[in-house]
Every structure is written in C-alpha cells, then in structure tokens.
Amino acid sequence: MSAARRIGAVMLRHLYVMRGSWPRVLEMAYWPAINMTLWGFTSQFFSTHSSWVAQTGGILIGAVILWDVMFRGNLGVALSFMEEMWSRNLGHLSVSPLRPHELMAGMLGMSLVRTTIGVLPAGLLAIPLYHYSIFDMGLPLLVFWLNLMVSGWAIGLGVSALVLRFGLGAESMAWVMIFALAPLSGIYYPISTLPAWLQPLAWALPPAHVFEGMRQVMQGNGLDWGLLGGAVGLNVFYVGAAGSVFLYVHHVARRRGLLLNVGE
C-alpha cells in the first residue's frame, strides 16, 4: 500500500467536498478577485499621482496577487485540517493506516489546489481590466509563487497545531495570524520604509525577501539571487519547524486523548 495513494485519498476527500458545493469554489476565487480589482483601481489612481508607482505599472496589483498566494496557501492548509475537525473525521483517520505526515502532505497538496483555484482567476482578470499581466514576470513569478505558498504552509501548519492542541476555539487564528506578518512583509512598500529596529525582524521573514525581489524584477533589475536564497533558506527552516510542531502536537494529542470526540 503506497503512501502516495493515502495522500491522494486525503486530497480526494476534500475534492469531493468542493465538487459537491460550487459556492465553495466560487468563494475561493471571489475574494482574491475583489481584492485585485480594488487595488487595481487604486493603482491606476496612484499611477497618475505618484512617479514611483507610474514607473512600475502593476506593482501594487502584482503585490496584492502574490500576497493572496500566501494568504490562500495558509488557509488551504488550515481549512483542510479544520474540515476534518468540523466533520469529526479525525478519529476515523487516526485509526486508519494514514500516517500523520501523510495527512500533512495531503493538506499541503490541497493548499496548492485551493490557492491555484483562488488566485489564478484574479491574475487572469487583471489582464483585460488593467492591461497588466503578472505572467509577464516569467520564471521569477513561479519562484515567488512557490516561496509565498510555502510561507503560507508554515503558518497553516502552525495554526493546525494550535487548533489540534486547543480545540476549535483557536480556529480564528487561521485568518488572524497571517495579518500580524503583513506589516513586516513589505508587500506594498520597501522594507527600508520600516523603522530601523523593525527591519531585522522583517528580514527574518521569507515574504519580505520575496516582495523585495518582486519589486526588483518589476523595476527591470532582474532576479536578485541573494533575496531568493534568503527566502528559500528561511522557508525551509520555517516549514520544517512548523511541520515538526504539528507532528509533535499530534503525538501530544494521542497522549492527552485529544483525537477522541473532536468536533464542533
């Protein structure tokens, strides 16, 4: 029996839920599209009043789309896990041959699917609306996308560990926690804008490297390999740490009986 089949089963379970509810699928694409539209008009307004924005058309739209990659990456993991808790399915899963790391891999796989469904339409919509294509970034876009999604995974795994440890009372963390990082991530402004004492903290976060790198690319300076290396290194560290925390909490849950009767 292969691990791939079990991971596929975890994903299939969530794909069935999505197939059975088109409003869910629509909701995934709805907010990123609305966000992008709002920032698109804001960007158009600023481009006539700010030389910085005018020089780099689409910088705000690119930033908002990529931020949504991280946000959806986080939600994709956390919602997949909470769906198991809401439906009281964790008990059945835990007595099946599914290993905790396979459950985790299934959640990450679903995050990839949810993020693509959510963000891709927003990226495509920006082309006719604002004559801006995020895809013009080329290969760097893929690199930024992957890095931000992995950052989202790290947060999503952390949130899932919190929900497993403290129950569904902690579920709001899935929406709240990531916004604590937003001011430090330099999504819409360079990290140099932050006060000097906050900048080291910002550079300790992978998204700061990604958004700084994105601006470099959009300003025509090419891909900054130093920034990319920083983002990849930090992501490996954070996602590894978050995965370890999730597995540790799962073990604690078995000791404390938290896998029994979990649910709403």
Partner: protein
C-alpha cells in the same frame, strides 16, 4: 422474499461452499494481549492496571457502566490514545511502537464517530478504500453495498441518512479491508430491534466466515449473550470480572447478564464461585 432474507441466504450459501476466509490468522497466538495497562487524565485514573488476553477468532465483550473505562481501553487498543504504562500487543505487534503494521488489518465502527456528512456514501467508501489500500475498490464497494443493502443510498450524502442507514454505512467502512480484528463501540445503539438483530447476524456471519476477532463494547446484554465467547467486566477503570456468559451466569447465580451487570455495578452480590 425480502432483500434481507435473500442476503442471509446468499451468505449461508457462501459458507456452505466453504469460501476461504479473507485472511488466515495464526490461531496459535492470541489476537490481543494487554498487560498492566494504565491511563489517567489530569490525575483521574480512567484505566487502572488491567490485563487480559483475547483469543484469535473469538468474540469478546467489554462491559461496564458509563465511565468504566471501556472507550479509553478501546482507544488505546486502536492506538488512538497512548497508555501511561503497560503494553498492548495486537496480532503480535506492539501497538505503541508499531501500530502502522497492524492498522491495515484492523477496523473500527462506532455510531459516535461519524463519517464526513457532506460526502456521499460512495465517496466516503472510496476515500477510506484508498486509505486502506483496497485492490479493485469499485468491486469491493459494490459487494459491500449489496451485502449491507446500501445500493440505493450510495449517492446520498452521509449526513442525510437515518440512524440505521448510518450504522450500515459505518459497517461497510469497517468491512472494507476485511479486518482480522474488528473493534465495535456499541454497534447497535439507537437501532430498531429488527435492524439491530440484522446487524448482529451480520457480525456472526462475518466472524464465522473470516475467523476474525471481534471486541465490542455494549450495553445490550442480550446482544452480548448472543455474540460473545468471553466477557470482560469493567468498573471504575478496573477489570472486576471475566469469563464466558455462561460462566458468569453460573457464578453469580443469575438467569441473564443484565442481572450480573447490575450485581457488579451496584456491588449487590459477590460471585457465588470465585473466578
């Protein structure tokens, strides 16, 4: 002839034809060996130093009042809960260290642990079939649907089923991998007498055909008398008595297990003969 009667007849025919058991168990080693098992939650002892052995191919009942420690014991047998101390060997494997060697040969059903409501019956069985690595899954689901009378409800969401239908779906999930050991938590709770009787018959047939070991927690004493070779009586986390239903009836001088249960639960009467 009703579908139910046809299915019973079909199962009898299969038995008469000597259809081989889905899994062959080494009958020399016990299926479950529990030694000095102990578990407490925040200082409150839930399972207090219990030891027992369950023979392969037998049906054993775990009896006790609410809070006696039955669910905690079953959860530890499934590896869902880690014991504070003691050992559990299932099919010769240590459940704390090597549970994943055993879990593909085990399954579990409880009316209190539901399958995802939004998924249809077929979708639920497909997902769990993949998790258990079932070969020719569509065929297996069709077999189970026929055996458990699920064919008409395969496309219905699990959340929209009646209690009896939910129980049969949970049973189908538990039977997907033709388990060598089946753990059942109050399998006939909230079922009408006809359906409950049918479910008991299903377990008996499966046990006879496959040689599987069944451990069930139940509050239904008639069910225990009908199905079980051995009874383990729990009270306040301890194993207070054990034996076959006939042994217990004889030792307590009672006509039915319900009276024995009440004797033990209320400290009314000691066994006439020590076990």
């Amino acid at each position: 002839m009703s579908i139910r009667k046809r299915m019973r007849r079909r199962r009898r025919v299969e038995l008469d034809q000597g259809r081989p058991a889905p899994h062959s168990l080494g009958m020399t080693q016990p299926a479950i060996v529990v030694d000095n098992l102990r578990k407490s939650f925040s200082g409150q002892v839930a399972v207090d130093d219990i030891s027992f052995t369950i023979a392969a191919g037998s049906t054993t009942a775990l009896l006790g009042g609410n809070g006696a420690g039955k669910t905690t014991t079953i959860s530890m047998l499934l590896g869902l809960l880690l014991p504070d101390s003691g050992t559990i060997r299932v099919l010769g494997e240590d459940m704390v260290r090597h549970r994943y060697r055993v879990l593909p040969r085990l399954n579990f059903s409880s009316p209190y642990v539901e399958l995802p409501h939004r998924l249809t019956v077929a979708e639920n069985l497909t997902v769990y079939g993949h998790l258990y690595g079932i070969p020719r899954l569509k065929q297996r689901i069709a077999e189970l649907a026929c055996e458990l009378e699920l064919t008409d409800i395969l496309k219905r969401p699990a959340g929209k089923l009646s209690a009896g239908q939910k129980t049969r779906v949970a049973l189908a999930k538990a039977m997907l991998n033709r388990p060598d050991i089946l753990l059942l938590d109050e399998p006939t709770a909230s079922l009408d007498p006809d359906t409950a009787d049918w479910v008991r018959g299903f377990f008996q047939d499966y046990q006879r055909k496959s040689g599987a070991t069944i451990l069930l927690a139940s509050h239904n004493m008639a069910e225990v008398e009908r199905l079980c070779d051995q009874v383990l009586m729990m009270k306040q986390g301890k194993l207070v008595d054990r034996g076959s239903p006939q042994d217990l009836l004889g030792r307590y001088g009672r006509d039915d297990l319900e009276q024995v249960f009440l004797d033990i639960a209320r400290d009314r009467r000691q066994p006439l003969v020590e076990s």
